[in-house]
Amino acid sequence: MKPRTQMLECRAPAIAAAIAGLCVVVGAPVFAATDPGANADAAPVFEQPLPGTPNFTGKWVNTRAGGRLLTATGGEPPLNDKGKAEYARRQAALKSGDHKIDPTSTCLMHGIPRLLYAPYPFLILQTTRNVNFVHEVNHTFRNIYWGQNPSADADPTYLGSSLAHFDGKTLVIDSVAFNDLTWLDYSGLPHGEKLTVQERYTLNDPQTINASVTITDPDFYTAPWTTRFTLKRQPGTSLKENVCMDTHQM
């Protein structure tokens, strides 16, 4: 897959300072426009953010896409022996040029949190009904309803079974019921079906989300661990049609 680093470089500074302050009005009962040029009269907006909560609707990109996850203090993830062995196997394969070991090489879904680190913009659509993450990369979307304690009995999937709620001003997404076919990151950090993921999103300013992801998987790690990243708003961009099966010949 062609990383869009070049595009990211030119996209990141393109954040329109002009709309700062218009993008998110905490506690406001209606959506504020996230796109310059969006005509508020052109369409009725029936779906509203939950009252009294920040609105994350808009286009975002991870400022540190790709690469390998570290803990919040910059340390190594606490892999157990099984985790270390599997990680070493993947690292060795990648080093030897065997990129087919990477599940995304056959266009499978990225899994969570890796999807959030893809070097492509994504759309967060936060409504009274649910929260959707719509990613440019291989037109992958997550459909997350409001609630807590998602059921681990759901069929295992690439993106897991997720529920979202607000903890104060922080959007919290809890996910369970993952299959074991994805990597946690681009470097090959492993996980199994016992994986649970908690994402936490807090608006630092209208253009910036401070985010963290906590990984719990007793089969591959000695303890839960947390990594942090930053999302920047991308008002000037539009999501392109990205079809992995088309651009990525197997």
Binding site: G37, A43, F46, T157, Y158, S238, M245
Partner: protein, 283 residues
């Protein structure tokens, strides 16, 4: 949710969806007894269905389509809407085919009959194209945000963006599987005009093709059927002077489904149709 088993059953029972009149119940299996009894049984099923699907009610405002909708059954063809019931053969005869498309369509039919059907884009996990996607027997969620309606289709995680900013497609808009969609409201009807298509998808699964000049205009209107069920009627006008002698309009109905959420669908996981021996619609 085990969609595949459900669909297999629904294909068997429902088969081809008719050009439904407003409030018409889904076609059911043939039953014995007199016509009035059969109609009463159908009505009872339709009422039960509407009650189940309305557990979480559809939005009240006629211009609010937000939520999940799911077409009934599966019809692998698009045919011109007619004002009276017609047989499948008659419906096909109403297609305004150019000589190019008539030959292309016959080729599709012949290849399928020979057991070597022509690969349709979704068989290789490419986006379905429009209106091909609209016929897909999987649910779709409408999501509203300022200046944009996003259509999330369960099938092969297709995503359509309907731009409501009132602007034409940007000059550098590429040709894509799903094209560029611009929407506006005419009263309570959402009108979506889509163009900038590539020529690698089909109009329908059975036989109809299109070229780069394809333009699709959808007119979506919400209504309540006589059983209290809410539906979107989508009138789909297809224009492509290379393939059709005049614009023609097909119809699809999407009942409200307050009882379900979209499931994860990975076409890529089970993709057995990757290009082999150069037989492919891949570039």
């Amino acid at each position: 949710m085990r969609r595949s088993a459900w669909l297999a059953i629904s294909f068997t029972l429902i088969g081809t969806v008719s050009l439904a009149q407003e409030g018409a119940p889904p076609a059911g299996p043939p039953q014995g007894g007199d016509p009035a009894a059969r109609a009463a049984a159908r009505d009872k099923r339709s009422a039960a269905e509407a009650a189940e699907w309305n557990k979480n009610p559809a939005p009240q405002d006629p211009r609010d389509f937000s939520g999940v909708w799911w077409t009934r059954g599966y019809d692998r063809t698009f045919r011109p809407l007619s004002d009276h019931p017609v047989s499948p053969g008659e419906a096909a005869s109403l297609l305004p085919l150019t000589p190019l498309e008539a030959a292309s369509r016959q080729h599709h039919l012949d290849m399928e009959k020979a057991g070597t059907p022509i690969a349709d884009a979704p068989t290789q996990c490419f986006p379905h194209g429009v209106p091909r996607l609209v016929a897909s027997p999987y649910p779709v969620q409408f999501v509203y945000s300022p200046g944009l309606i996003t259509l999330l289709h369960e099938v092969a995680h297709n995503v359509r963006f309907i731009h409501l900013d009132g602007k034409p497609a940007p000059a550098d808009t590429p040709r894509t599987f799903l094209g560029y969609s611009a929407g506006h409201w005419e009263g309570n009807t959402l009108v979506i005009v889509t163009d900038h298509f590539n020529d690698r998808t089909q109009i329908d699964e059975e036989s109809l093709s299109h070229g780069l000049q394809l333009k699709v205009t959808e007119r979506m209107t919400k209504f309540t059927n006589r059983f209290g069920g809410v539906e979107i009627r989508d009138l789909i006008t297809i224009e492509d002077p290379e393939h059709f002698t005049k614009p023609w309009t097909a119809e699809r109905l999407f009942p409200w489904r307050g009882d379900i959420h979209l499931a994860e669908y990975s076409c890529e996981e089970n993709n057995r149709n990757a290009p082999i021996n150069g037989i492919s619609v891949a570039k």
